[in-house]
């Protein structure tokens, strides 16, 4: 029992590193070119342009801050909750663009990610991240009894 919990703690530790690295990288690439990212968001045609521009400035930093927070036990649950929510929103946006026949790059890893990744791959990547974040959040909420590798 204790052995399997220890294995779970090691897996959770590895998953936290992956989640933090992916979101800090994704946010970092977008922070380099917020104007390009604004166009990538605008391509989805879900928001009026000024809102897309505001989101293009805010979202990358939210990804970086929440991604990094996954490595900090004091705010880990909050970070994972935000990242899970973001993954859900991204999945909705990707599906909605595909249903409307929009031929756009997903913009997930920066505005210059043009025509490189199909919507199916982008969605799959997003769902894997969502599952990782949700599982980590559930793991963290199991309470103080579970063994932890911080």
């Amino acid at each position: 029992m204790a052995g399997s919990a220890k294995v779970g703690a090691v897996i959770a530790f590895a998953c936290r590193i992956v989640v933090a690295a992916v979101f800090v990288y994704a946010g970092g690439v977008k922070v380099l070119d917020p104007a390009g990212f604004a166009l990538a968001i605008d391509n989805y045609r879900l928001l009026p342009y000024p809102l897309a521009a505001m989101l293009a400035v805010y979202l990358p930093w939210a990804e970086i801050v929440c991604g990094a927070s996954v490595l900090w036990p004091r705010v880990r649950c909050g970070g994972l909750a935000v990242l899970s929510g973001l993954c859900l929103i991204f999945a909705g946006a990707i599906v909605s663009a595909a249903l409307r026949g929009l031929d756009i790059g997903c913009g997930c890893f920066g505005p210059e990610e043009i025509s490189g990744v199909s919507p199916a791959i982008a969605l799959l990547r997003d769902v894997v991240l969502l599952l990782l974040c949700a599982w980590l959040l559930r793991w963290e909420m199991r309470g103080p009894a579970s063994p932890r590798l911080n």
Partner: protein, 151 residues
């Protein structure tokens, strides 16, 4: 039993703190980032031109196909050069050899629903310092339609 709700409440509080903390770099980015977005669509977007306008232009025009290599290989507007995300550096070099200062550049992708022409045009303006750059309204579909309806 009461642990779950309190954990949830704590997680939401932490989420709020993190989202507020992100506002500090956000404000700095909005104020000072050299590539901060324009706040109006007209300023942000590369100007669109119709095929009719394109036909009326005098002087050399360089057409750029932003649809991706496979679509370009199948068919493209005569004289257009391919430039898409895949092999950007190689393709940009080929394009830079063709482009002369003062030449207009028009980028197209599939149709009204594609975003690649805006992204490529924007990147081209930045990396090749092309000032006279446009996006073809309706893209490849508009050109095909014009071919069907004749001159």
């Amino acid at each position: 039993m009461s642990q779950q709700p309190s954990m949830l409440g704590r997680a939401l509080k932490q989420a709020g703190v993190l989202l507020l903390a992100a506002l500090i770099p956000v404000l700095l980015t909005a104020a000072f980032h050299p590539r901060r977005p324009a706040w109006s669509r007209d300023q942000a977007m590369v100007t669109e031109v119709t095929l009719d306008t394109l036909g009326q232009w005098r002087g050399a025009v360089l057409l750029v196909d932003a649809r991706g290599a496979a679509a370009y290989e199948r068919q493209h507007i005569p004289g257009a050069l391919s430039l898409s995300g895949g092999k950007w550096d190689d393709l940009l070099e080929a394009l830079a050899k063709e482009w002369r200062p003062g030449m207009r550049v028009v980028v197209y992708c599939d149709n009204r629903n594609c975003g690649a022409s805006q992204s490529v045009a924007r990147r081209l303006r930045r990396e090749l310092a092309v000032a006279d750059i446009y996006v073809l309204k309706g893209g490849w579909d508009a050109w095909l339609e014009a071919q069907k309806s004749g001159p």
